[in-house]
């Protein structure tokens, strides 16, 4: 909210620089987001008297002025036509600056010396447009040679406040003034509201009926013999500084009062109130109404309207109607000053897409007792501007008057809660500045004014004390009491371990959106009945592409690979640890999964190796890899299901060529997706020491020819089974296809280590087992020794 500084100063005497005030109010809870200083950029501009004007010898449109700027008379060439000898004008001297960083230097204009510039209002940044006015002419008798900022009152500025939703009272300048009064401990001045009522009775002009409790109070006054025109310059200036466009004197008064007190008002042209009756009622569903801005709107029965006998004249608290607006020939005005249910105004404004200065105040739930002050203030201004006469009496329908709220607070509790030590008298004094009446006993008995609906419990009072005392003065203290031990859960610890393994293997962690497009499932070839298509859906997504919560991380990692590939990043190793979301009975189920993705000079076994590394570090040994030809995401011949303790926990492999194509990647892609919880459960915490071997090992190599389709796991199973008594380790060291190996066959070579724990093995023993392994491989797998 924009508050012109000089307007604020009307209610509190603070003799301080605007920036100092901004900082102080920010620290006491009224955050100033921006300080707009008038004339900040103006330098070396003074008042000057034009003593003589002559025609320019070389240019018809230019004139040469001798200007007295106090200490000297300087010559300035101007193109302006509105200046005359004897005028006092703002003069930008040599070396001066103007708003926008404009620098003025002396020079020659068509051969004649010019030692500065006469300024217009626009050039000084105090008006938007100078095409009409030309050079700014100052009143006669303005002193000469004085800084223009002093003359024009440009030493102030505008404070732009961020008002929090709980402080409805601060949506008016007077509320801010009260805050300033409390912060600086200076009295808050009263508001001038006096005016004379003419002896006629308002009842003869208008009748009001309130039909709905959404209107908590409705007050009105009538002003007659109105002379519509422009409001005085000072009022227009203040409105503009506060960000409101001046319209005419009556509308300006309602806006002025709204800005000042935070209470929106509305002015109707009495002529256009049909039946001279105002009815506050719910709109009918489908009721049409044209608002001030000329837009026809369709209302519904959740909305409150101000109506006459024929129809709506205003949407309550939001905007008035076009038909009854104040016109140039309006002579009798009805001032409405009412109080409406805040949430209802908010919803109406939202439904109509019409958030106004008025609705944004009403929606905070204003104090109904503000109505009297505002209505009187408006009438006072009418009288002060001499633009009309206030008809006697007022309408005021106020069924359930709001009363001040009283609460008791223990001052010691406040001190303890905040961690300060101030006297109860000092507390009472602070609260007094905020408009609270405080009786000081053992406890503080506080009467909270109705404009502070936000103060209801002791914590609220503690906040008032703390912020006025100054948060910066509260000492910073360590938490006392028993030390609390911080612990990481097993899941947190193991997740970190997994991330570290991946980083050490050259993978970069990624971080992708949790919502995806439903089309992503088609892109990864999921069949229509895939359980992964059963998703948590967002009712109001940012767009279809972000409309469902992901059940798998694969589309996200594929998109990331796609982006990188398209940008010529062709060697990419990435992973993500993130939640997936699956519909469940009450709350969705959100298991954490790990996805891994690679493109570049890598193959299936690089990916499998990383997974094996992770399982190794976690001490998980009951692992199986099953060929999975059915997984639609993957190349049917290059996909493995990962089983831990015989339970499937994920899958990995080379992405199906069609999926790769869908993501526009012309390279082999390897991805994995593994659910983490089963890994955490299988994690082996215990490791037991086994004595180092005492007896020597026997190392035998074996090379066999088998059919291509024989899996090495089958060979290893046989070796282990036959040699289980004495085999210590089986290590695959070569797989070869090509020269000297028949078509459809492969050569597989193992190193087998034999050892017994209790004695040295004899050659004979080893030979026996080794032979039966070879025999068994030959019988079961048709293996030939090479």
């Amino acid at each position: 909210m924009k508050v012109p500084y000089n307007w604020l100063l009307e209610y509190v005497d603070i003799e301080k620089d605007i920036r100092e005030v901004a900082d102080a109010l920010t620290m006491s809870g009224s955050k100033v987001e921006e300080v707009i200083e008038y004339g900040k950029e103006i330098d070396k501009v003074v008042t000057g008297l034009i003593e003589k004007i002559e025609r320019h010898p070389n240019a018809d449109k230019l004139r040469v002025c001798q200007v007295n700027v106090g200490e000297e008379v300087i010559q300035i060439v101007t193109g302006a036509e509105n200046v005359q000898e004897g005028d006092t004008v703002p003069v930008a001297l040599h070396g001066s600056t103007l708003p926008g960083g404009v620098k003025i230097k002396k020079g020659k204009l068509r051969g004649v010396d010019s030692n500065g510039m006469l300024c217009s209002e626009a050039e000084l940044g105090i008006a938007d447009d100078d095409s009409v006015h030309g050079i700014m002419i100052l009143p006669k008798g303005t002193p000469i040679g004085v800084d223009i900022k002093e003359i024009l009152g440009l030493k102030g500025g505008i404070l732009d406040f961020e008002i929090t939703s709980n402080r409805a009272d601060c949506f008016g300048i007077y509320g801010i003034a009260r805050e300033a009064s409390a912060k600086f401990r200076v009295p808050l001045k009263g508001i001038e509201t006096s005016f004379k009522e003419k002896d006629e009775n308002i009842k003869d002009y208008i009748d009001v009926e309130v039909k709905d409790d959404l209107c908590r109070r409705y007050a009105a006054r009538v002003v007659k013999n109105v002379k519509i025109g422009q409001s005085p310059e000072w009022m227009q200036q203040r409105l503009m500084d506060a960000g409101v466009r001046p319209i005419n004197n009556i509308v300006d008064i309602t806006n002025y009062v709204m800005l000042e007190l935070g209470q929106p008002m509305h002015a109707f042209d009495h002529r256009f109130i049909n039946g001279k009756r105002i009815i506050v009622r719910r709109a009918e569903d489908g009721e049409k109404f044209t608002t001030l801005d000329g837009v026809e709107r369709t209302l519904d029965s959740s909305m409150l309207v101000i109506a006459d006998e024929k129809g709506a004249v205003a949407v309550a608290g939001v905007m008035g109607g076009l038909d009854s607006e104040i016109k140039d020939d309006t002579t009798t005005v009805v001032f409405e000053c009412a109080n409406f249910n805040g949430p209802n105004v908010r919803l109406t404004a939202k439904k109509l897409g019409l958030r106004t200065e008025s609705s944004s105040r009403f929606e905070k739930d204003l104090d109904p007792n503000l109505v009297d002050l505002a209505l009187d203030r408006a009438c006072h201004l009418v009288e002060a501007l001499e633009i009309g006469e206030v008809v006697g009496g007022k309408i005021d329908i106020y069924k359930n008057p709001v009363k001040p709220y009283t609460l008791e607070v223990d001052p010691n509790w406040i001190n303890d809660f905040i961690g300060i030590n101030i006297s109860k008298e000092a507390m009472a004094n602070m609260l007094g500045y905020l408009g609270m009446k405080v009786e000081v006993g053992d406890k503080l008995k506080i009467e909270v004014p109705t404009f502070r609906q936000d103060i209801r419990i002791k914590e609220d009072v503690a906040e008032e004390i703390a912020r006025l005392y100054g948060y910066d003065k509260i000492k910073a203290e360590k938490i006392k009491g028993e030390a609390v031990e911080a612990v990481l859960t097993r899941e947190q610890r193991l997740t970190n371990i997994i991330r570290n393994v991946l980083v050490n293997r050259g993978f970069f962690e990624i971080n992708t959106y949790s919502f995806i497009s439903p089309k992503a499932f088609d892109k990864i070839r999921l069949p229509e009945d895939s359980p992964l298509r059963n998703t948590v859906k967002i009712l109001n997504p940012l767009g279809e592409d972000f409309s469902i919560m992901r059940t798998t991380l694969i589309p996200s990692i594929m998109e990331t690979l796609k982006i990188n590939y398209a940008r010529d990043n062709k060697e990419v190793k990435i992973f993500e640890v993130a939640k997936t979301y699956h519909p469940a009975e009450n709350m969705p189920y959100e298991p954490v999964k790990l996805s891994i993705g690679m493109i570049g000079k890598v193959d299936f076994y690089d990916l499998k190796g990383v997974i094996e590394n992770i399982l190794y570090v976690l001490g998980i040994d009951k692992v199986d890899y099953e060929r999975d030809e059915k997984n639609p995401i993957f190349h049917p011949g290059r996909c493995a299901k990962l089983l831990v303790r015989r339970k499937s926990v994920g899958y990995f492999g080379e992405v199906h060529p069609e999926v790769a194509e869908n993501y526009e990647i012309e390279d082999r892609i390897y991805v994995a997706e593994i659910e983490l919880m089963p890994l955490f459960e299988a994690y082996k915490t215990e490791r037991k020491y086994k004595p180092l071997p005492k007896y020597p090992a026997v190392d035998r190599d074996i090379a066999i020819l088998v059919k291509d389709e024989v899996a090495v796991a089958e060979i290893e199973n046989i070796i282990w089974k036959i040699g289980k008594e004495i085999v210590e380790q089986v290590k695959l060291f070569d797989v070869y296809k090509g020269k000297q190996v028949p078509e459809g066959m492969k050569s597989v070579a193992y190193s087998i280590i034999y050892r017994r724990e209790d004695r040295t093995l004899t050659d004979e023993e080893v030979n026996k087992v080794h032979e039966s392994i070879i025999k068994s491989l030959s019988e079961k797998l048709g293996a030939q020794l090479r």
Binding site: L347, I479, A486, I538, L539
Partner: protein, 339 residues
Amino acid sequence: MREQLEKIKLEALEEIKEATNSQRIDEIRVKYLGKKGSLTTILRGMGSLSPEERPIIGKFANEVREFIEEEIKKALLNIKNKERELKIKGEYIDITMPGKKVEIGGIHPLNKVLDEIKDIFFGMGFSIAEGPEVELDYYNFEALNVPKNHPARDEQDTFYISENLVLRTQTSPIQVRTMEKTKPPIRIIAPGRVYRSDAVDATHSPIFYQIEGLVVDKGITMANLKGTLETFAKRFFGEKTRTKFRPHHFPFTEPSAEMDVSCFVCGGEGCRVCKGSGWIEILGCGMVHPDVLRKGGIDPDEYSGFAFGMGLDRIVMIKYGIDDIRLLYENDIRFLKQF
């Protein structure tokens, strides 16, 4: 005979000094001390000496032998050193050639900074709590004093899943969830993803990260809140960091505050990052509202607490000078490799 011995001694010394390799030394050893060596030959002729002369010459001959042996030893050591030096000289390599590396990856900048923040709070006794991202309206709003139709709901454009399920708009729902599960003393932080239906641009992302903090115990004061968060700020942003607490309003804390830290880019002088103010807004905080404690099953007359919440993305962006939030969610590998 004595002269002969003297001569041998001098000759041997001469030859040893001239020898440049160990092979030559071996030859010298054989020539003088070997079975057929000149010194041995002389000693064999000792018999021809008178009994008086024999011990004298014998002693001298031994001295000569010892002398030569000693010189040979010295020379050998010398030559070995020289030979080693020579070998070393021939083995120089270009140490500016690249090392043999295992390529190492990296943690995402968001998590990297988060890990740092977690460590700091961990050191202060804070454990890490977690909660669902698809959250009940109750925990996300109602339990935090934001009933239906509260204006604060407009400010946090919410993604809805159903009438009572939302994508959490903040990490604060973890407050009541934690209180329901844990008896005080409570000291937790809860980092995680949050969601707002903001259109994507350089400063807005519909998904971002927050870190919630909650402390509940007997006698927790606002001074404790300041103490804890000041300590955090100094550990995270540097010991010279100053903090500023400004009053603010949140429905679920009372009193409430925002904390600024002195700009860690310019040190408080004013720069582009802090928009010339010298301060950067980092987090919102406050004393847990008694209604919220009650919702968590904690008696506000017995216990008090404070809570805070900060946006991780903003901190990461300022820390690394990242000017577009989209970079954090796009995962260009060239971006990720910078952290």
